[in-house]
C-alpha cells in the first residue's frame, strides 16, 4: 500500500504569479515536490524562434525565488519544465541564470540538473533518414527544406529524462517538456499507478486553472493514492468541483478522452469525479494505455520575413459597398508603381484584413458581409527585408488614401489613418512549421543532461 503523496503545482506558468502563502500552506501539508510549467506555444512562434521569454525577468524571478527557497529549505525536489518559455537551449540558459541569481541572493545550495531539449538539424535529419519522423495531422511529412529553414527545433520530453535527473539532483530545469511530465515524473518513479500519475499531472499542469472560478493564477495540490487522487486549491476562496476538474480535460486538448503522452495515452472515458467536500475532488477510474512505440513531439519555428503593417479605416459608404473591387484596383495600381520602384523581382506578400467583416475569423467566418458603417483595413506587407517591406508599405498607404471610385470625380482621400507615421515596422515574423512525432532510440536519448552544484 502506497502512502498518500501530496504534490504541489506552484502555478500554471512560471512568471504568471501565485500568492506566497499558497506555497507555505502546501509545505505545511507536507508536499513531496514542487513543480511549475514555464512554457507554452500559446503566445506564438517568436519565443522559440528568438529565445525570448513571454513574462519579464522580474516576474519569472519573483516566482522562482519563492519556490526555489521553499523546495531547498524543505529538502524536496523542484521541477521546472519548458524552461524560459519555449524550452530551447537559449531559453534554458536564460532560466538557469535567473535561478542561479536568486540562489546566490538567498544563499541556497543544491544539486541542479539541466535537461536539454534542443535538437540539432543533423540529429533531426538522421532520424528522418531512418524513417523515425512522422507528421501529425494536419501537417505534411517532414522535408529537408523544412529542417534547413528551422531557427530552433525542440523535442518535447516525457517523464523519463526528469526521473533520471531526479536520481542525483534536487532542482531540475528541463527544456521543452510535456507539461504533465513535470508532475508525473516523481510519482511514477515512486511506483504510483501510471493512470493516477498522468491524470493528476494533467490537472496540476495548469495550476489553479481547474478551479470553478479563478480570479488570478495560483497553486494547486494533488494527493496521489494507489488507485485515485484528490485535488484541491491552496487559496481559501477557490474551490474544485467534480465538473471543474472533469472539464479540465477539455482545456487546450483536441480529444478530452485520449490524452497523448510520449509513453502512452491517458484514457479518461471511465474517469469518475467525486466531491470530497466543497473544495476538493477525488478522481478515479482513468486508465493508461502504453504506446507501442515511444514517440516525442518536435516543434520548430522559421522566419517568414519582415513585416510592415498599416492600419486604415474607411467611413464612406460608397467605398465600403465596393470594398473588394476597391482593394483589387488598389492592388493593380500598386503593382504598376512597384514595377517602377522596387522592381518585379522583389518578392513580397500583401494581405488586407477587413475588420468589420472577417478580420477576426478570416477563412472560418461564415458571415462575409459588412453590416456596420465603418471598417478597419489592416494591411500586412511581408518581404525578405524590413527596408523593402517599409518602402512597399509607404507606396501602398499613399496609393490607398487616394485610390479612386467611379462615384466621385476628382482626387479623394478615402482612408483615415489613426497613426502617423501610418506604416509600422514589426520586425521579423515567424511561424511554427514542425508538427511531427519522432521515435527516438530511448526515452532519454534526445535529452542530454548537465549537472552542477550550486
Amino acid at each position: 500500500m502506497l502512502e498518500p503523496l501530496p504534490v504541489l503545482s506552484a502555478t500554471g506558468m512560471l512568471g504568471s504569479g501565485f500568492r506566497e502563502e499558497s506555497i507555505y500552506r502546501a509545505l505545511d501539508l507536507g508536499v513531496r515536490m514542487i513543480g511549475c510549467d514555464a512554457g507554452t506555444t500559446d503566445f506564438g512562434p517568436h519565443l522559440l524562434a528568438t529565445g525570448d521569454s513571454q513574462f519579464s525577468r522580474a516576474a519569472v524571478k519573483r516566482d522562482t525565488s519563492i519556490i526555489l527557497a521553499a523546495a531547498v529549505r524543505a529538502g524536496i525536489p523542484l521541477v521546472i519544465g519548458s524552461a524560459g518559455g519555449a524550452g530551447g537551449d537559449v531559453n534554458l540558459e536564460w532560466m538557469r541564470r535567473v535561478l542561479l541569481e536568486t540562489a546566490r541572493e538567498q544563499g541556497l545550495h543544491f544539486r541542479l540538473a539541466l535537461i536539454h531539449a534542443e535538437q540539432s538539424k543533423d540529429k533531426v535529419r538522421e532520424l528522418m533518414r531512418q524513417g523515425r519522423v512522422l507528421p501529425l495531422p494536419p501537417s505534411e511529412p517532414l522535408s529537408d527544406f523544412a529542417v534547413d529553414e528551422a531557427l530552433h527545433i525542440v523535442a518535447m520530453m516525457g517523464a523519463e529524462p526528469v526521473q533520471a535527473a531526479l536520481d542525483s539532483a534536487q532542482v531540475v530545469l528541463a527544456g521543452r517538456s510535456s507539461d504533465a511530465a513535470i508532475y508525473s515524473a516523481l510519482p511514477l518513479k515512486l511506483g504510483y499507478a501510471s493512470a493516477v500519475c498522468w491524470h493528476a499531472a494533467k490537472i496540476l499542469e495548469c495550476g489553479a486553472a481547474a478551479v470553478a472560478q479563478r480570479a488570478a493564477p495560483d497553486s494547486m495540490v494533488a494527493v496521489l493514492h494507489s488507485d485515485s487522487f484528490d485535488v484541491f486549491p491552496m487559496r481559501d476562496d477557490y474551490r474544485c468541483t467534480p465538473q471543474s476538474i472533469a472539464s479540465h480535460t477539455l482545456y487546450e486538448n483536441v480529444d478530452p478522452f485520449h490524452l497523448v503522452e510520449p509513453s502512452g495515452i491517458l484514457n479518461t472515458l471511465e474517469s469518475e469525479y467525486v466531491a470530497i467536500d466543497n473544495r476538493a475532488v477525488n478522481v478515479s477510474g482513468s486508465t493508461f494505455e502504453l504506446a507501442e512505440r515511444y514517440g516525442v513531439k518536435i516543434e520548430g519555428a522559421r522566419l517568414v520575413g519582415y513585416s510592415t503593417i498599416i492600419l486604415g479605416a474607411i467611413r464612406d459608404p460608397l467605398i465600403i459597398r465596393q470594398l473588394d473591387n476597391w482593394l483589387e484596383r488598389l492592388d493593380e495600381n500598386l503593382k504598376e508603381r512597384l514595377r517602377n520602384t522596387v522592381g518585379d523581382a522583389a518578392q513580397h506578400q500583401i494581405t488586407a484584413r477587413i475588420y468589420g467583416r472577417d478580420g477576426v475569423m478570416g477563412a472560418l467566418e461564415p458571415r462575409k458581409t459588412i453590416e456596420g458603417h465603418e471598417v478597419m483595413v489592416l494591411w500586412d506587407v511581408i518581404s525578405a527585408s524590413q527596408g523593402l517591406s517599409h518602402s512597399i508599405a509607404a507606396s501602398l498607404s499613399h496609393m490607398a488614401v487616394h485610390n479612386p471610385i467611379p462615384e466621385w470625380d476628382g482626387l479623394i482621400s478615402g482612408v483615415a489613418f489613426p497613426f502617423a507615421p501610418s506604416e509600422v515596422d514589426r520586425g521579423p515574423v515567424y511561424e511554427f512549421h514542425l508538427n511531427h512525432v519522432v521515435y527516438p532510440d530511448s526515452p532519454t536519448s534526445l535529452f542530454p543532461t548537465d549537472y552542477e552544484s550550486v
Partner: protein, 110 residues
C-alpha cells in the same frame, strides 16, 4: 426554442496546440446538457458546414462528466503565423451562439 448562447454556461474557443482549434460548449445542468447532446445540436455535419471544413477533419465529443460538448478542427493557419487572425484562437466560437435548441414543454431552462 432557445439559442445555445442562452442555455450554455460557457461557450469558448482556444488553441489546442499551434495547429488545432478547439471549441467547448459547457452547461451547468444535466437536463440542458442532455437536450443539446441528444438533439445533436453540434453535429459533425453542422460544424463542417459552419466552419467550412471537410467532415473528416471535424471531431465532436460529448463529455458527460464535464457536461460539455467539445468540437475540434484544424486551424486554417498555425497560431501566430503571418496569416493567422487570432493567436490564442479565443474568438472563433461566435458562429455557435445562435444555434437552436428545442426543449420539451415541461422542461425548464434559464
Amino acid at each position: 426554442m432557445s439559442t445555445l448562447a442562452e442555455v450554455a454556461k460557457l461557450i469558448r474557443s482556444k488553441n489546442a496546440g499551434p495547429f488545432w482549434l478547439t471549441l467547448d460548449v459547457m452547461f451547468d445542468d444535466r437536463q440542458t446538457y442532455e437536450a443539446v447532446r441528444d438533439q445533436h445540436v453540434l453535429s459533425v455535419e453542422l460544424i463542417s458546414r459552419l466552419y467550412m471544413q471537410p467532415r473528416e477533419c471535424v471531431r465532436v465529443f460529448a463529455h458527460d462528466a464535464a457536461m460539455a460538448i467539445k468540437v475540434s478542427i484544424p486551424r486554417p493557419h498555425s497560431s501566430g503565423s503571418p496569416m493567422d487572425t487570432d493567436v490564442f484562437g479565443g474568438q472563433q466560437y461566435a458562429p455557435l451562439l445562435d444555434l437552436a435548441v428545442e426543449f420539451p414543454r415541461h422542461q425548464g431552462h434559464k
